[in-house]
């Protein structure tokens, strides 16, 4: 039995009549009163008139009183406790010091909540106080945890936390208010401020959010922000990287900014910060000279009293691709060999051809009076093409070019050309009567870059080129869909009249040779290739390959061997990614701190079929320390692909170096680059955003405070909890008292008596 007393009451009507009946009766009473008033309208005595009206009205009210049967309803009620949520930001930026040399922002909140414990306890009378951290998921915390467990969340999502706490965990209990402790460094929905949809969402919460901003804005910090760069660039085309240097507490200081590629400085600039909180843009324009994917890093120095040093460098990956292959064709003299090669290169849309032909030498007599006016010849720009602009070419082709004549000799530029190949360029030497052991120009330095060396006089006997076993599979000479179709394609070519006599250097691969002309017991190479340093070189030891282009058509059957050979050769020389048998791709190319590094390896056999069950080995190599960090192995599936994942490494640039084998067959090597970022969005910015916290308070009806200025918990706006009736109710009638009936009868009797007295009855 509930012994609690009644603690509330209200006046009620106990009449069993429905409302409409009560209304009708009420209207009837009013009509009766009005009728009586009408009946005495001609009463000359004002006093009598008033008396009769008063008596009739009083009787009417008394009758109404009985009709309504008024009573008192006694209630036993209790007030429901709603919730007040205390939300503490647990993102990584809360680990910054709240003031220079001070405790972390998170620890400061913990101390404040410990001090405010009595005030929070006092609130428990009316509310259930809940303490949560958000990272951005809600989880219960204690003030002690805030000081001992560092915050680590990678993002700050205040709106999501407010929505989650509003949904609540205790069924129908509503939220009366929120106390939000944060530095305001939201980097999700509120990153741009409480505007637009975010503002609407805040307003729709329907609870006041009082904010406590933690941390001082005056921390000293230098950060690299706002990196803008394209995902890819074209080789030998300039591109621009834009960054912003944000300095707090560096007014008037000059800051050097360095752009480096895997440890090598690419460009550097200096910026001057004008004020104590300044952002200065910096742009770097540079020209990548190699294709591939590379990691670039922008760095500013770290000063001793900076709040955070991890945001002083930022890495990104850049994929450098080729738009067209830029070919320099240098021709010793016009010939049919040159004519058909030019015809092929000119009609190839993927080739940007620059050519220079020696149309006359000093010993030729054009028979003109004025060479300047009568000849269309231009000076041979040796310095420009072999020195200044050499690096702008992807491939340099020398076609029977060899002059001892000082006016045409390239001896001065041989070292340039040799180094050009060594550093990644591509060189083709096509034979004839002026090169590769013929003519008087030996070009010893340039010859070092070639896969063959001269070995005697040319052999002028006609012969049919013979494909070697290596040539049957090599990307340059593999012309068919398989070995047999490739061999058939080469066998169909006509005989050619003559070969320069050369021998292959150690490490060179002979793709096509002479069937019976021997050099040191081996068949003389006709087409040979090799890698030289970072570059590649190819020799074609004849000036009669035009037979493959032209004479091959004499029987009427179409023949594209010549075209395909040169197309393959150019692609191989410039390291076309599609020609590699092992493709390595970092997935993704840029990794957030603490995330694993993924790599996808695609292996193909020499005839470019998917290599199933290939054994793949990938090494994660740190460019910063020049040391391997980890090695993973895997096996490719039916599609020749395998995906591997390295555990999260330290921030910095890395190379992924892969190799693959299937049984004893080597499937090649490949590499890619990946950047592991030093800081995520949380730690890149040490700033505090009191303006956002004020906006949140304003929009939701709360109040904004600065934690450092509060010594105790202030009185924050909270919604009153609703009253809820939970106990008994008891009705006490008022109308059934005898004296109310006596009053009614007296009133009615007095009116009757007065009417009779005044002559109305």
């Amino acid at each position: 039995m509930n012994s609690q007393p009644f603690n509330a009451w209200k006046l009620v009507s106990l009449s069993p009549l429905p409302v409409w009946a009560l209304v009708l009766l009420g209207v009837g009473l009013v009509l009766g009163i009005a009728l009586a008033a009408w009946g005495v309208r001609r009463e000359p005595s004002r006093g009598r008139k008033v008396l009769l009206w008063v008596l009739r009205v009083a009787a009417g009210v008394a009758a109404l009183f009985f009709l309504l049967e008024p009573g008192i309803r006694h209630l036993q009620v209790a007030r429901m406790k709603n919730r007040v949520a205390v939300l503490v930001d647990r993102s990584a930026s809360m680990s910054f010091p709240s003031e220079p040399e001070g405790p972390s922002r998170s620890a400061q909140v913990g101390r404040f909540l410990e001090q405010a414990a009595p005030a929070l306890t006092a609130l428990q009378d009316r509310f259930t106080v809940e303490l949560y951290g958000f990272d951005p998921e809600l989880a219960p915390v204690t003030p002690a945890m805030l000081g001992t467990e560092p915050p680590r969340a990678g993002t700050t999502d205040i709106l999501s936390a407010l929505r989650a706490v509003g949904a609540g965990s205790q069924g129908a209990r509503k939220l009366s208010g929120v106390l939000l402790f944060s530095d305001g460094a939201d980097n999700t929905e509120l990153a741009a401020g409480a505007v637009g949809k975010a503002r609407t969402a805040l307003a729709e919460l329907g609870v006041p959010v009082s904010t406590f901003v933690v941390g001082q804005e005056a921390l000293k910090d230098l950060a690299i922000e706002g990196l803008k760069v394209d995902d890819f660039a074209f080789v030998r085309n300039s591109l621009t990287v834009e960054v912003e240097i944000h300095g707090r507490g560096f007014s008037g200081k000059e800051i050097p900014v360095v752009l480096s590629q895997e440890g090598k400085t690419v460009a550097s600039k200096t910026v001057r910060l004008q004020s104590s909180d300044d952002v200065q843009p910096v742009s770097f324009t540079f020209t990548p000279d190699q294709t591939g994917r590379f990691v670039y890093t922008v760095t500013v120095p770290t000063f001793p009293d900076e709040a955070v040093s991890d945001n002083n460098q930022r890495s990104f990956t850049l994929k450098v691709i080729r738009d067209r292959v830029r070919v320099l064709l240098v021709v010793g003299r016009p010939s049919w060999d040159e004519r058909f090669l030019r015809g092929l290169l000119r009609q190839d849309a993927n080739v940007d051809l620059v050519s220079f032909y020696i149309l006359r030498t000093m010993s030729d007599d054009p028979g003109v009076v004025s060479q300047e006016r009568e000849l269309s010849l231009i000076p041979f720009p040796m310095e420009e093409i072999f020195d200044t602009k050499l690096d702008t070419f992807d491939v340099v082709i020398f076609q029977n070019f060899g002059y001892a004549d000082p006016s045409l000799s390239i001896s001065e530029y041989e070292r340039n050309l040799e180094q050009y190949v060594h550093k990644g360029g591509a060189l083709v030497m096509i034979g004839g009567d002026s090169v590769l052991g013929e003519g008087r120009a030996s070009m010893p330095t340039l010859m070092q870059a070639l896969p063959v060396e001269a070995a005697g006089s040319a052999n002028l006997e006609a012969f049919k080129a013979r494909l070697t076993p290596e040539g049957a599979r090599h990307p340059v000479t593999a012309l068919g869909t398989g070995v047999s179709s490739t061999e058939a394609a080469w066998a169909e070519l006509p005989a050619i009249p003559g070969i320069n006599t050369t021998r292959a250097r150690p490490g060179a691969t002979v793709l096509v040779d002479h069937p019976f002309h021997l050099v040191d017991g081996r068949n003389a190479p006709l087409v040979a290739v090799w890698d030289y340093g970072r570059g590649r070189a190819l020799t074609l030891a004849t000036d009669a390959s035009w037979y493959w282009a032209f004479t091959s058509h004499k029987d009427g059957s179409p023949n594209r061997t010549y075209d395909r050979f040169w197309s393959n050769a150019l692609r191989w020389l410039v390291r076309d990614p599609d020609l590699t048998t092992l493709k390595v791709t970092a997935d993704p190319p840029s990794v957030e701190p603490g995330k694993p590094v993924g790599v996808v390896v695609s292996a193909r056999t020499a005839d470019y079929q998917a290599a199933q069950d290939a054994q793949v080995r990938v090494e994660l190599f740190s460019v910063a320390t020049q040391k391997p960090v980890a090695v993973l192995t895997g096996t490719t599936g039916a599609d020749g692909v395998v995906r591997l994942e390295f555990p999260p490494p330290a921030p910095g640039p890395y190379k992924l170096l892969a190799s693959a084998k299937r049984g004893e067959v080597d499937l090649g090597q490949g590499e890619d680059a990946v950047a592991v970022r030093a800081v995520g969005p949380e730690l890149s910015d040490a700033s505090v955003r009191p303006a956002l916290m004020e906006q949140i308070a304003k929009v939701t009806g709360g109040k904004a405070y600065r934690l450092q200025q509060e010594s105790a918990l202030p009185e924050v706006p909270l919604l009153d909890p609703p009253v809820v009736e939970v106990g008994r109710a008891k009705d006490q009638p008022l109308w059934d008292r005898w004296y109310y009936l006596v009053v009614l009868i007296a009133l009615l009797g007095a009116e009757w008596f007065a009417r009779r007295r005044f002559g109305y009855v």
């Binding site: 010939s335 040159e338 004519r339 030019r342 007599d365 013929e438 009249p497 003559g498 004499k554």
Partner: protein
């Protein structure tokens, strides 16, 4: 000729040299063989090209023409229609990169060699008719800077060409180019040149050099790197 040719020692045999081949047809095809030899000699003398100054007769039906990417087809008077095999072979020759120089040794226009040549070209390359070569064509600057293309005669101010893609596969002159080039064994020029005399002959030789250079270098002199300098020279 021989002493001049021995200036340069050449180790790669004749196939690497420029050899003018001459089409043998049913009419008078061999009226200007000296002229061909002479222009090849001039090519060797004035430029870096290595030649064999030998006018090699070729039958159009023979696959042998594919060993000579330059063909000369001249004649005095008309010639009978080519056989179908000859037409087909010549068409394939031109399509895959060969070059044909047609030369009306009789200076005819509408009759004689001219009529026969036009008739046969319409069969060989029906999709590409002979059309006037514009003055901006690269043959006007492929070695010499020239403004006209006369021969022994100056009946027509312009040459005509059949073009395949961007390449002129056939060039045709009605001015008897080879007549202006031709010398006797004794060294005298075989024919007078009119109306311009020896100046015209030199221009005809230069026209020949330019044509051969075009056959060998195609549109090399149209490359962007040459344009500003050539434009400057022409001012």
């Amino acid at each position: 000729m021989v002493p001049l040719l021995s200036r340069r020692a050449s180790a790669f045999g004749e196939k690497s040299r420029f050899i003018p081949a001459v089409v043998q047809h049913g009419g008078r095809w061999d009226a200007r063989l000296n002229g061909l030899r002479r222009i090849a000699w001039e090519l060797q003398r004035r430029t870096s090209v290595e030649v064999l100054p030998d006018a090699r007769p070729c039958m159009l039906e023979s696959p042998e023409i594919f060993e000579y990417p330059f063909l000369y087809l001249g004649g005095e008077g008309d010639f009978p229609p080519l056989k179908d095999l000859e037409v087909e072979n010549l068409r394939r020759y031109l399509t895959f990169g060969g070059f044909l120089l047609g030369d009306a040794n009789d200076g005819s226009d509408g009759s004689g060699f001219d009529a026969s040549f036009r008739r046969e070209m319409a069969r060989v390359l029906p999709q590409s008719k002979l059309a006037a070569v514009p003055s901006t064509h690269v043959i006007y600057k492929s070695f010499f800077l020239i403004d006209a293309t006369p021969g022994r005669l100056l009946n027509k101010p312009q040459m005509e060409a059949c073009t395949l893609g961007k390449r002129a596969a056939v060039m045709y002159s009605q001015n008897d180019l080879a007549g202006a080039w031709s010398r006797t064994e004794a060294g005298d020029f075989e024919f007078d040149v009119s109306p311009g005399g020896e100046a015209q002959r030199e221009l005809a030789i230069r026209t020949g050099i330019n044509l051969l250079m075009y056959a060998l270098c195609l549109d090399y002199k149209d490359d962007a790197v040459h344009l500003p300098i050539i434009l400057n020279k022409r001012r």
